[in-house]
Amino acid sequence: MIYKGCVLSLEKGYAIVMTESAEYMRVAVKNGLAVGAHIVFTNEDIFRDKRAVTAKALRSAAAFAILLFAAAVQFFYSNDNVAGRNIAAVVSLDINPSIELEINTKGEVVSTISLNEDGNSIVDGELDKKPVVEVLCKLLENAEAKGYLDHNENYILISLSAINKEVELNLEDIEEKVSRFANGSSRFTNISFMFVQGSKTILEEARQNGISPGRYYLYEKLIEEQKNLTVTDAGTMELKELFYRLRHRQSNDHQIETFSGGNSVKLLTQAVYEQQQQRERVRIMEAGRVREAPRNQTGTQSRTTNRMQEEVENKDGGIDKKNEIQNENRVMNEEKSSSGEESGNGQTQAPLPQGEPQNQEQSMGIDADNDEKGKPDVETTPGNKRNEYDDKGSRGKNEDGGSNKSGKGN
């Protein structure tokens, strides 16, 4: 673009020119420039105020910075607050205090996030840069010291969600060490641990919903069957209730979760539990098939089978009976369990009727299986489910008039 113009005035650093197209422009000063001179100039000669340019540049730089900041904020808050901070994994601990520990690749705690107020109270400042197991143990101690653990039954949920593959942490390791720690101290009695393997997705979802990854994991497991469960429920529900529900669900997917007991409670993995369930199911089928046959079996067994026959034969009456049993069961549960879980029982009872006869049968019958189940009557069993088993067991005993205790103890 060529401009032709006439110089109107010389200013400091530039000259004002009126161009052929009746524009008033500023051009850079060159030699021999005088008012009234006609000049031919190009785009390059148009004077640009350096201050204006800097101001403009500043403005755009500021805008860019804000944009960048917004993007960063978005990035941190939307997905995993983590990518930018070199966090390799997140471990969550739920007692009732809920805490998230952000872990670096070396397995050290980089930061602790309290998910509730109780969480705040058990976090003290000296947790950073320590190995995760050590921190978990310290938190347990703090929780105990602050009275979050009661003496009868405690449920502790620990999850590990790896973000980065390089992290030198595995769930088994944490499980082993934490269990050992809990078992090694007399302060921790009657604790049921659940260790769950989360994932990046679970972590992200959990953070979006404002609950711990551990709880979110349980929620995901439970929602498959219990559609009416909400995330908020999963976040606020007592762990006991969550554990209980989880043990009652019929899902096959159980490879990545493990249950383990504290001091006095035997390690019971979900897998073993499921196997048991399977076996029981098979057994009840057998029982149904050999309806006619069991005369030649032992008294207790045949009586059980008779009872089952009754149930199977008169469907209508059977249902009544089931309800009866259920009610019975519920009463017992209510007696046994603390008030907190009552609300849940009504819902969770639903899948029970199928399981009911088998439990009875089991408690009455085959000793070897009971051994496997490894649920000592005499020991304190904090698991709600376990209590229930025992209830049934005792009911069976009453009915039978015999004792299975010897068979069940290990």
Binding site: I2, M18, A22, K30, N31, V40, N43, E44
Partner: protein, 237 residues
Amino acid sequence: MTQLLNFSFLPRLESRLERIKAGDSGEREMLINDYIPFIIKTISNVLNRYIESMNSDEYIIGLEAFNEAIDRYDPGKGKFISFASLVIRSRVTDFMRREQRYDKELAECLPDKGDYLISDADDNLALRVEINEFEERLKSFGISLKDLVRESPKHKDTRLNALRIAKHIYTKSELKQELFSRKRLPVMRIKRDLDISEKLINRSRIFIIASVLILDSEMECLKSYISGVMGGAGYDI
């Protein structure tokens, strides 16, 4: 900017040069035309002053040099633009040296060299006085040339409209009188006469006033700019 433009046209430029070398004279004209801004820029950089018109000796020399560069360009030896720039620079520098020598000789030959110089500056002197007066008159309206730069309409059509208003005021003596005496635009009258929105008038206020002042002056060149923008219609002023 020009360089950026050249850069993006580079592949095309090479092929254009090939065609010119093959004897396409129309293409040569077009290429030179396209590169006039480049030529002007180069000349003005060598001289470190603006060339005064498209008829000036320096410009002609530059054009010739560019033409020569097209002929002598060897694609194997780098980019055409830098080569052309080099040729223009050397030709213009040569020309400047010759000029200086000629001026010296002339000054020696002519004892009344003062007259010669004055006659050169004479054309500008009248204009310069006029421009100063124009600036003064603007000031009486509270307008500086800087304001004019800042607040002139950027868009060509807006400018044209504003110039029409200015011409209208200039031709209607009562409007002109009102403007000069009351130091403000007779907005309502203009609105009524030309059916132009008040907003438009007020936005171009400074530019309109300046244009009226130019039309009302003896600055032929500036007046010709205005009438040039307005097309043939402007010449009857």
